[in-house]
């Protein structure tokens, strides 16, 4: 699996947070992370979702999602070929590293 280009923009979830994303396109890749809680570095699968500039105030216009539980839920629901846009809503339950996620895939493909 290819390494994603820098800069990385890892989304840090807060317990109970809900956020909607409009996914314009997406990429799968991997990167090495250094957990802040003392666990050793490891290479993980990353889902990079590109979103409209209006949904994020700062550069770059994408988020890197690293939770294996979240990536596992999102991957099958994202449009084939990496092309969107699609809208998804994510709620985080619990704190890392044991966060669970509720994911809603909204029905309409945006045009």
């Amino acid at each position: 699996m290819a390494k994603l280009e820098r800069p990385y923009e890892i989304y840090e979830w807060r317990d109970g947070e809900t956020r909607e994303f409009t996914v314009l396109r997406w990429q799968l890749g991997e990167l090495e992370i250094h957990p802040r809680d003392g666990r050793p570095p490891k290479t993980i699968e990353v889902l990079r979702i590109h979103i409209p500039p209006g949904e994020k105030e700062t550069y770059p216009p994408y988020w890197d999602l690293t939770s294996s539980r979240l990536v596992a839920q999102l991957k099958p629901m994202l449009p084939p070929g990496g092309v969107g846009p699609y809208k998804i809503k994510v709620t985080a339950i619990g704190s890392a590293p044991r966060t669970h996620f509720s994911v809603t895939r909204l029905p309409e493909r945006l045009t």
Binding site: S68, Q73, M77, I93, F101, S102, T104, P107
Partner: protein, 163 residues
């Protein structure tokens, strides 16, 4: 021996199944069910605080919002009869769930999604009005190769003969 990396197989399975089966429907994974019960007697919780409390409720693997019904889906790779009672409980919790109030009038179809069959489970499920669906996910070989040998076969069901 190193610790085996965590892989959320069941989440992967249900996400793949709903995405393939209902590409145009609205659906949601890990859905909280039941009442939100704040314990402060004066009810001074804000909307955000009450929602936070609601996160600790039971959760069903997925709900598919169809025009004429709600699908309540639990997924498991090796079929487990315990899921029958879990689905029955979740069905009872749906009418009490504030987030699902707009769907209260829709009939509920309970669905048990599994990969390795247990014939006992299919018999029980039918008796309880649950639709068992077998689904072989795209990652089956990868998952199956990591199973212990005794877990690779279907449980015996001969005691069901004559029932």
């Amino acid at each position: 021996m190193g610790k085996r990396p965590y892989t959320p197989w069941e989440i992967m399975m249900i996400s793949e199944w709903v995405a393939k089966t209902f590409p145009d429907a609205r659906w949601q994974t890990n859905v909280r069910l039941g009442k939100i019960q704040p314990r402060l007697p004066d009810g001074t919780y804000t909307e955000d605080e009450a929602r936070g409390l609601g996160l600790w409720r039971r959760r069903v693997d997925a709900i598919v919002y169809l025009r004429d019904r709600l699908l309540l889906v639990e997924a498991i790779l090796r079929a487990d009869p315990g899921k029958i009672s879990i689905l029955k409980l979740y069905e009872m919790l749906v009418p009490q769930t504030p987030e699902l109030v707009e769907f209260r009038d829709l009939p509920i179809q309970k669905v048990l999604l599994y990969c390795i069959e247990d014939p006992v489970l299919n018999v029980l499920a039918e008796k309880e009005g649950i639709l068992p669906i077998q689904y072989v996910p795209s990652f089956f070989d990868r998952w199956f190769s990591k199973l212990a040998g005794r877990k690779k076969r279907t449980p015996r069901s001969d005691f069901l003969e004559g029932t």
